[in-house]
């Protein structure tokens, strides 16, 4: 069936991937929900029913009602508004942390995986060093070095997850490295960079992509853990993880306070994963056989 592969090349790989992706219902559903969330996040300053930071003690702990669909928190703030506005923070943390982490990880992983030898050794040991420093500590350090703010959270997560991408990429590069098509490529004097970019990366991409999609969710969850330890995004920013960890003291008495940010995180992660799965399938040239 090489014919099909040939035809794909004619159509352009991007369109092919998109075409296949469009046929995956789960991926499209995930993408749809994510798009809605992104739209909500972008429009939230104008569409939230109440200001997300408006306090109203008379409504403290108010359960869900027609007026406040998701109820109110301990300071009487409308949880629906906070969840909607919080999408800005949580999605940004997830996406940016993964983008930054994956970009650095890809470079390091491909270099180390392809060249092997001394470069591999040195870079992998460097990754070992970084991996050995737990992300929480990394978060403190980065907040100290770069100053406080929401970006420190992103950087902390990005840097602490970067070695993961590098390792996965290196692992899959090592498994494809001695396959024949690479020898073929090197025999026709393809430059190393070209070999990495044109031949190894696309073949290692699916493994990377799985890791990356999982990590968008993981990054959101990690921000929650940082909040739990007291290092997350600062109030009154309604980042979901911060809302969740801030409300944990009320888990038994006012469960709606933890339910809705929790659902927001869960739905987001679920959709990210469905979309990621679809993307993986669509990108994998071997899948069609």
């Amino acid at each position: 069936m090489k014919r099909r592969t040939d035809r794909k090349r004619e159509l352009g790989p991007g369109m092919q991937v998109f075409g296949r992706l469009a046929k995956n219902k789960a991926a499209m559903a995930g993408l749809l929900v994510l798009s809605v969330m992104i739209v909500i996040a972008l429009l939230s300053p104008w569409i939230i029913p109440y200001p997300y930071e408006a306090l109203d003690f008379s409504n403290a702990f108010a359960p869900p009602s027609p007026k406040h669909w998701f109820g109110c928190d301990d300071l009487g703030r409308d949880i629906l508004s906070r969840v909607m506005y919080g999408a800005r923070y949580s999605l940004a943390i997830g996406l940016l942390a993964v983008l930054v982490g994956a970009a650095i990880g890809t470079v390091i992983g491909s270099v180390t995986g392809y060249f092997g030898g001394v470069i591999d050794n040195v870079l992998m040991r460097f990754l070992d060093i970084l991996s050995a420093i737990p992300s929480i500590l990394m978060a403190i350090v980065i907040s100290a070095v770069f100053g406080a703010g929401f970006s420190k959270c992103i950087l902390a997560i990005a840097i602490s997850t970067m070695p993961q991408y590098a390792r996965v990429l290196r692992g899959s590069i090592m498994s494809v490295r001695d396959m024949e098509y690479l020898e073929a490529a090197s025999s026709i004097n393809c430059s190393n960079m070209r070999i990495i970019a044109r031949h190894i990366l696309p073949n290692s991409f699916s493994a990377m992509l799985v890791t990356a999609t999982m990590n968008v969710g993981t990054a959101i969850l990690m921000a929650a853990s940082l909040s739990y330890i007291g290092l997350g995004v600062q109030p009154p920013a309604p980042e979901w993880g911060a809302m969740l960890s801030g409300a944990r003291g009320y888990i038994r008495d006012y469960p709606h306070m933890v339910l809705f940010p929790g659902i927001a995180i869960m739905v987001t992660v679920l959709c990210l994963n469905m979309f990621g799965d679809g993307l993986r399938d669509a990108l994998d040239p071997k899948l069609k056989r």
Partner: protein, 564 residues
Amino acid sequence: MKKKLTAVTLAMAVSVMLLAGCGGAGRTDAGGTEAERTTAAGTGTPAAETSQPGVQDAKGEAEIDEGRTVGTIDEITINVSSDIADLAPFSVTTNGRQSVLPTLYEYLAYYDPNTESGIRGILMKDFEALDGFTFRIEIYDSIYDSAGNHITAEDVAWCFNTYHELGISGLAWLVDYCKPIDDYTVELKLMSDAAGQFENVICGQVPIVSKTAYENSPDGMTEKVVSTSPYIVDRYVSGSQLVVKKNPDYWQKDDSLILDVSRANAETITFNIITESSQTAINLETGAIDIAQKISSTEASRFIDGEDADQGYHVFGTGDSNIYLLFFNMSEDSVFHDNQALRQAICYAIDTDGIVQGAAKGSAKALKAVGNPICVDYNPEWEQQDYYDYDVDKAQERMKESGYDVSKPLRIMCASTEMSQSISQIIQAYLMQIGIQTEIEVYDSALFSTYIADPTAWDMFVDTRMNNDYVTTLSSILARKGDTPAVNFCEDATLEQLAAEASGATGHSAETVEAYMQYTKEQAYVYGLMSITNYYVTNDKVADIFVNFKGLVVPGACRYYTQQ
């Protein structure tokens, strides 16, 4: 020590109220009556006299309470909210250590508001104040630690000097010298004569151990404690658990001289470290602990009138020794420097009752002065006076006077505790009403402590200060100390003079305190927000709890229903 100081409530050992449960006088609403209760505690009329009969003169013999025998118990377990770190007498004080130190060690004395002298000796037999700075302290001649070492004046002097030399406590500077006069008498000289400092040093800072025992200890007593306390360490699992057993050979044989704090009403006490606050109540309900200290008001209310009421739990509440304050940056470049109107505008704009409702869920009391109502020199009249009571109109008026340009947002800095963050958010919302935009900057404790010292890092900050003896002790943080600037970089000679007069051992009087406090209020360098209520919930093994001045339960001194 002056007689008039004897009425001081240094420690509110017994200002504890039974809120609910079988032994209680009926259920009380947590929110509504909080203010009265805290006031009652604060004005130095310990509620214990009415609701806790017998705590003061408990001498170990059995009593009958509602048909049940009150006395001792075999085993009791209590939570500690953070890591104990180590058990040594002189290492750095952390929250976890404070929970266990009163059980592991004895101090020279304990403050007891119900006695004539105010200070009741534990190891100390008597004391004499030579002047505001120097004291002669006599100890009992029969003190032996659990290893049989005899404690003499030399040991006491060594302990104070070691404490001073190590310098790892914020109060270590206070000790000038301590020298033995004879076998059982030492002379202690302090660096300050400010009211409350002597009590502070002898009652809560320096545990007394035998020099021989300490020097012979292979680990500097970090785990193997040898002390005079009625309890000896049975097992210590670092980071998890401390088990102590009653010392059968406690040195004080005269029962009438044993203070409550040195009682051993439980044969075995287990301190369980529970770092996750929402786990504390669960541990109590599953029977893993018997006493849950410092649980949130939301959880406490579940035991009072929620689903866990009438399950045999007892809820106790006391005013905390810490108060929440809002500090304005008074350094030269700050917007608040020379702008009293702006400070006042902000004070007027903040509804402290709103903070009580919103941040403390009603379990607190809005402050009416820069001082804790539990302080002995707190003037009840302040309660009736205006202390920037919430008034948006006045706030706006003052804003106009201040001429402050609202386009630049102000930074509110706070530590990353739930309460401080909530308070900051509420303040942010109130300030928005008068057009002031704010940014909240939250830091972990270490960064917060560091940035406080940097006048360019913040415009306002929310923080707590311990204030449980005299309202005037807080003046020390508003004044320069040598090279150390005031906490908020305030430089005001008038304030310093008023404070010096009011807090000195000789000048401390109702008039000087009043003058100091009215000036402090008027200048509004710092705005008092609220004092919160701490909650303690126990299961039905516990009849009464004993809370020391740091708001922590001393389990050996609690009283239990004797099991049949």
